[in-house]
Symmetry: C2
Subunit: 149 residues, 2 copies
DNA sequence: AGAAATGTAACCAAATCGGTTACTATCTGT
DNA sequence: ACAGATAGTAACCGATTTGGTTACATTTCT
């Protein structure tokens, strides 16, 4: 899987911790261990999804556009992972035209994965960015997250 | 995601339906809509995992090495998807050496994904190859699966 | 004006994936 | 013994994806 989901969550949690103070892509990239352009690319997606808001120019950066408590990890996953419908891409076995087995197999697997996928979705939907941030706070009592890195 | 998991399940269900009769990679490939070499590659993995047994030469093919009721989809997934531990590869954000945030973020996300991953695993473990085969039988009453395709 | 920052296109190297060819090894049947 | 059928496996290829990087236009603040 990609790193996009993890990086996006990382960025959002950082923004939540910044409490409305704009954060530059350079700072976020440094924290997430990637390149500022990668951050801005992801931000573009998150902006389209309505999660963040950016300001150009000196002193600019990105802030959350919604309360962190109202952004779930499922929201983030959906925004960032364009191929969300097939969280498990069961299909893509090229069904044999000569027989229905291929197609039926695909339907069958999809049916049997339904519960698994729903369980995963529910688990992701149960966690908010705010919770991630708070969990981070517990593990980083020194406050490094808000300062330099 | 790959097609490997779907194809492997396809093959195993087919073998379960064949009831001990060896099935050639050509037949399986035709049914799954792929190439015989792809089937044999996957079979090699499934053989290493102890799920199937193959016989070379004329009249050869592959048979199940275990009762279909004792092979779960989680088993198949683990065997075929080498990167199983990170069903969600949360990590691979390069933690910033300057600050612990990267590493802690990774730990935090992993911790919050634990339940989601476990839910998914449980759902996969609850389905056996035999159940897939039976479900296929319901949807293919004409018995095409056992005949030509 | 100049510095700082985003937005975005473009390119690249690496990895992955599935298909294909080619060859060897093995087994069965005559 | 020989021919045919089959698995096992290495090797290569093209397509796709991914993330990093450069480059440049745009915006905003001082």
């Amino acid at each position: 899987m990609n790193t996009r989901f993890a990086v996006a969550t990382h960025m959002l949690a950082y923004l939540a911790h910044a409490q409305g103070q704009p954060v530059s892509s350079e700072v976020l990239a440094s924290s997430a261990g990637t390149h500022p352009v990668v951050v801005r690319r992801l931000m573009s997606t998150l902006r389209d999804a309505g999660f963040v808001q950016s300001q150009r120019g000196a002193g600019g950066g990105t802030v959350l556009a919604r309360p962190a408590a109202e952004i779930t990890l499922l929201d983030v996953f959906r925004a960032v992972q364009e191929t969300e419908p097939d969280l498990f891409q069961v299909g893509s076995t090229n069904p044999n035209a000569h027989c229905d087995l291929g197609r039926v197999m695909q339907q069958t697997l999809e049916g049997m994965f339904g519960p698994a996928i729903e369980a995963m979705r529910a688990a992701l939907a149960a966690v908010t960015v705010q919770q991630v941030m708070q969990e981070l706070g517990k593990r980083l009592p020194n406050g490094c997250a808000g300062a330099s890195g």
